[in-house]
């Protein structure tokens, strides 16, 4: 009963009144962030990291706060999907397919509560899965040497690139941009600056937070300037909110199956929540057959993607915590949070700092319950948030981003760099180049290079060392397969397009 005692340790950390308060505040804030069109888990968490850091919270409190925001944003994403037909984030895209038609039938309240319950089931099961799976995976990870880690990082880039874009060359370029940025700065072994172009500001390297906030938050502003903030008006009415017990009961197997599918999709490095909700929806659709009426506003069509999406969000934490390799854009941002707090994810985290891991898991469980309780009675408050017009919201987001980065470093150079990353993010997303590999490259570049260097030093410069163990070979094969397979599967697994009343700006805006 190792898990139970560990969990008790976790709850002893996470259940103090102060952290509980942080969890509730985080859930509330997160749901609002998720509900706002144009702000999703990735950019919402990204703009809050610098501020959390400057507040001087200790590691556990900061972690509790930010994971609550993260889970809250995953919950909140469904509100704008259902009411506006605009996905608040990419994984919520699948929820629009049945959620919006159901809301148009006058059952917006039912759709919101049902999706809330499905989110809860998915997230709860995934957190339990995380507790069971992560410690054993952490034990396997001890077998990893530098060669295996190098192959693992490569695998993450390959699968993420394969999934995230429609063009492998573009995702490879995105990864190279990120990795190239990570190499800038003082070299760890020689102590000499490299690739700085003689600019003193670059000797420290480029802070990943600057890049993340620029690419995710500032780029969003340009999209809104381009579209003039159109398309954020509520088209459906929300009457009294009741709990649709019959719908919840009738979708119980759907929720369970979708949680399983979503969790497995989440564990795959690079796949993440979008794939989870997509696969869950598609599985249920094929089980129900043409008579299931998917796409017309059926309860199962709402329960499946929401359970899958939230289960995948939990599943994505498994590779992130045990191996230090995030599975999606949002977990990449959470990895950035951990690194800011000076916590290095990886197998040693479970043995060296159990209180952090289990505190995190306990706070996920707490956040989940809080969110369920908060979302059913208070959903009307969150719906009000949707009324915030873009011309207040986006300048506000920009200013919060500036203050966050400024309070972190106090340097105008980082602010200019952030604006530059904003422009880069706009151009890249316009050209269908995924931005998540850029972030991942900046985050993991240092570790990946270290792994390569150690491998080369151990083998005295023999490249065949990189393929010297069965694990490493397996990872290389998986990496190559993960990069190439989507080229052939693309015709089968076509990315779903949102059904639109008023243009696709919403999904471009949140296409992370």
């Amino acid at each position: 009963m190792d898990i139970l005692s560990n969990l008790a340790l976790g709850f002893s950390v996470a259940l103090s009144p102060y952290t509980l308060m942080l969890a509730i505040a985080g859930c509330f804030l997160g749901t609002i962030i998720g509900a706002l069109p144009g702000l999703g888990p990735s950019n919402g968490v990204a703009i809050l990291i610098p501020i959390t850091f400057t507040l001087g919270l200790d590691a556990t409190s900061a972690l509790v706060l930010m994971t609550s925001v993260y889970y809250g944003a995953m919950y909140g994403g469904r509100i704008s999907s259902i009411l506006l037909n605009i996905p608040g984030d990419e994984p919520a895209l699948m929820t629009t397919l049945d959620g919006y038609p159901m809301a148009k039938q006058g059952r917006a309240g039912d759709a919101l509560v049902l999706s809330g319950v499905a989110s809860f089931v998915g997230a709860l099961l995934a957190t339990i899965g995380l507790m069971l799976l992560a410690p054993s995976l952490a034990r396997i990870a001890f077998l990893f040497g530098p060669a295996e880690y190098f192959a693992l990082y490569l695998l993450a880039f390959c699968t993420l690139g394969g999934m995230a874009s429609n063009n492998q060359a573009k995702s490879a370029l995105a990864a190279c941009i990120g990795l190239g940025i990570a190499t800038i700065g003082v070299d760890s072994s020689s102590g000499l600056p490299r690739l700085t172009g003689g600019n003193l500001h670059l000797y420290d390297g480029i802070d990943f937070l600057v890049a993340i906030v620029g690419l995710f938050a500032i780029a969003e502003v340009f999209f809104f300037i381009e579209s003039h903030g159109k398309g954020s008006s509520i088209g459906v009415k929300l009457d009294k909110v009741r709990i649709p017990w019959a719908d919840i009961w009738s979708t119980k197997w759907t929720m369970l199956r979708s949680s399983g599918v979503g969790f497995i999709a989440g564990i795959l490095p690079g796949a993440g929540a979008s794939l989870g909700s997509f696969l869950a929806y598609m599985t249920e659709k094929s089980i129900a057959g043409p008579k299931g009426g998917f796409g017309t506003g059926v309860p199962k069509g709402i329960a499946a993607p929401e359970a899958g999406n939230n289960a995948a969000a939990g599943g994505a934490l498994v590779p992130m915590l045990t191996l230090g390799v995030p599975g999606s854009g949002t977990t990449a941002v959470l990895l950035a949070l951990l690194m800011t707090l000076n916590i290095t994810p990886g197998p040693t985290l479970f043995t060296d700092r159990p209180e952090v891991v289990w505190g995190l898991i306990a706070s996920l469980l707490i956040a989940n319950v809080v969110l369920l309780l908060m979302n059913v009675p208070m959903v009307k408050i969150f719906v009000k948030v949707l009324m915030v017009p873009a011309w207040i919201l986006l300048p506000g987001v920009t200013m919060v981003s500036f203050v966050g980065i400024y309070s972190l470093s106090g340097s105008y150079f980082d602010l200019l760099l952030m604006v530059g990353f904003g422009m880069l993010g706009y151009i890249l997303r316009k050209l269908d180049v995924p931005t998540v590999p850029v972030i991942l490259g900046i985050l993991l570049g240092g570790n990946m290079e270290d792994a390569l260097r150690r491998a080369m030093t151990l083998s005295d410069g023999d490249p065949s060392y990189l393929f010297s163990s069965p694990i490493a070979i397996g990872l290389w094969v998986a990496a190559v397969a993960g990069f190439i397979a989507p080229m052939f599967l693309r015709k089968v697994l076509k990315k779903p397009q949102a059904i639109t009343d008023f243009g696709a700006f919403g999904c471009i805006g949140s296409w992370l």
Partner: protein
């Protein structure tokens, strides 16, 4: 087609420049001769190959915005850049109100709401950050000397500012 070709060309030139810079990386006794160069050269190589692929097999063009939107975005970039350098010498409230107001106007071109948004966000966020969250290094206002103001703005001009 053309967009991807241009993008591919730009990334190819960047990749080649990056590779050239990577061969010039200084090394010393501790690092060995080739270790600091190896990883950058690998990245540059992959980037160059991907750029070539993009040059020869470009995707269809995206829907680029009309000229007006480009100008609006250009203005937004300039405003944000000026805001970035003025935040320190001029304090928080005035630059924030102006920058937020202009951005707001650009998203929804109505004058009065934009002014209200600028002033409201500036004061509201200042109270939030300074008094509720206690972030130390933002200052309400500073009255900069003309020389300091000039110094700050020259930071934006290449080769003139420091």
């Amino acid at each position: 087609m053309a967009s991807d070709r241009i993008f591919g060309l730009v990334t190819l030139i960047t990749a080649v420049a990056y590779l050239a810079a990577a061969t010039q990386i200084q090394t010393n006794f501790f690092s060995g001769e080739y270790l600091p160069k190896l990883f950058p050269m690998l990245i540059g190589g992959v980037a160059a190959i991907s750029s070539l692929v993009l040059l020869f097999r470009p995707d269809p063009d995206p829907d680029w915005p009309a000229t007006g939107s480009w100008i609006a975005m250009g203005v937004a970039v300039v405003v944000l850049a000026i805001y970035a350098v003025l935040l320190k010498p001029a304090g928080f409230i005035l630059p924030t109100a102006i920058a937020a107001g202009i951005l707001s106007y650009q998203i929804s071109p109505r004058v009065r709401p934009a002014i209200l948004a600028g002033v409201g966000l500036s004061i509201g966020l200042f109270i939030l950050f300074k008094f509720l969250l206690g972030l130390g290094n933002i200052v309400a206002y500073r009255i900069p000397t003309p020389a300091k103001l000039w110094d700050a703005l020259t930071l934006l001009i290449p080769f003139v500012g420091r």
